[in-house]
């Protein structure tokens, strides 16, 4: 069972940032449970975690990073999407940097990353990025690292639910 973590402060954003990921898993008959980050418990019972993104103006989660500290002890695969990626990167002591990218961009995956390799079209929607630190980088845009791995953690700054659903399915099947 996969745990999807919703970090949206406005619940209306669930439809845009969480439901598309649920639909991708549903279509592939993969079991999941969705919980808001403010009401998490017993995460060890889940086989994997996906932390979704949120809107450009939603920075509430940044004030509540302590609520994500438990992720440091979770040793099974975690996929952080956009803001989800930034949360984990922050827990790994990397810095948040200002960097707006909105729209479709092309990335070159120098090494295979959850099924993506060579050139791929991706959808970006963020005002912030993160420094690299000890993250292994698989793809980067002009201004930011876009696909990374560190131990059990996978992170993408772009939104795979738009053009790259196979990335989410490949993560689910790890």
């Amino acid at each position: 069972m996969i745990l999807i973590i919703n970090i949206c402060n406005e619940q209306f954003h669930y439809l845009e940032f969480v439901r598309p990921i649920e639909q991708i898993l549903q279509k592939a008959n993969i079991n999941f449970t969705t919980k808001h980050y403010t009401e998490l418990d017993d995460i060890e019972s889940f086989s994997k975690i996906i932390i979704c993104g949120t809107s450009l103006k939603d920075n509430e989660f940044r004030q509540n990073l302590s609520k994500f500290k438990f992720l440091k002890d979770y040793k099974k695969p975690i996929l952080g999407i956009c803001a989800g990626f930034q949360i984990i990167s922050k827990l790994l002591k990397n810095k948040t940097t200002k960097n707006q990218e909105i729209g479709t961009i092309e990335l070159n995956f120098e090494k295979e990353f959850l099924g993506l390799k060579n050139k791929n079209k991706v959808y970006s929607l963020h005002n912030n990025s993160t420094t690299q630190g000890n993250l292994e980088v698989f793809a980067k845009s002009e201004n930011s690292i876009q696909a990374v791995k560190h131990e059990n953690f996978y992170g993408v700054l772009f939104h795979p639910e738009v053009y790259n659903p196979e990335l989410i399915l490949n993560f689910a099947q790890l």
């Binding site: 619940q11 209306f12 439809l15 845009e16 598309p20 639909q23 809107s55 939603d58 729209g103 959808y123």
Partner: protein, 222 residues
């Protein structure tokens, strides 16, 4: 939150309004861009003047902005009207009916960010068949007012989105890759009734024009 809905009068903007209400937001105003360019990249054009009747039925103010509908230039007109909505209706966010178009969504996101407004896309990436069923389930009365792809013809104009429509569009989707929600620009719709309207709109006149597989139906409603 006080929100403005980018409103074309079709099924997507009406469903987006319905969802905004469902999530307890306040619809402060509707915003319609009236494009002179029927091929606008951003804004749907058929029957847009009838949004006045829909706004009245919803009991919500309608802000209209004319635009030549030229690529990228039309974004300045959108920014202008959203600034007005912010000033006069104190909106804190904008709701769109975008489903798949990253072209539309990314441009609206940028304008909202610039104007310090939240941007909501409640139909984003929705499963189109489930969405059509949701329209029926929630008592939306939606008619087809434009068809723009093979193998559509004039006979589709005025058809309602009902179970029969879904069955037919399933076949067209399998055979000709027609997007069931018209996201590829294959269809335009108009909403005659939905749970947000205090009365059902009646079709009083229609004028059909077009040729081959491309037809529009200009309508009058009361």
């Amino acid at each position: 939150m006080k929100l403005a809905i980018l409103f074309s009068g079709g099924k997507d903007s009406c469903m987006a309004s319905f969802l905004a209400k469902k999530y307890d937001h306040d619809i402060a105003c509707l915003v319609s861009l009236i494009s002179k360019n029927k091929e606008s990249y951003m804004f749907h054009t058929p029957s847009i003047k009838k949004t006045e009747a829909q706004a009245q039925a919803m009991g919500v103010s309608l802000l209209k902005q004319n635009t030549l509908g030229l690529k990228e230039e039309e974004l300045k007109d959108l920014e202008k009207i959203l600034k007005k909505a912010k000033k006069y209706f104190e909106i804190e966010g904008v709701v769109t009916g975008a489903i798949k178009s990253t072209y539309q969504a990314s441009r609206i996101q940028k304008i909202c960010d610039k104007l310090n407004l939240e941007c909501f896309n409640p139909l984003w990436q929705v499963n189109e068949f489930e969405y059509l069923q949701d329209l029926i389930k929630n008592d939306f009365e939606v008619i087809i007012t434009g068809v723009f792809a093979y193998p559509f013809d004039e006979s589709w104009l005025g058809k309602k989105i009902d179970k029969d429509f879904i069955e037919k569009i399933k076949i067209l989707n399998q055979k000709y890759q027609i997007n069931p929600a018209g996201e590829g620009g294959e269809l335009e719709t108009f909403v005659l009734s939905c749970p947000l309207f205090n009365k059902k709109l009646e079709l009083t006149d229609k004028k059909i024009s077009g040729e081959n597989n491309s037809f529009r139906m200009e309508i009058k409603v009361k």
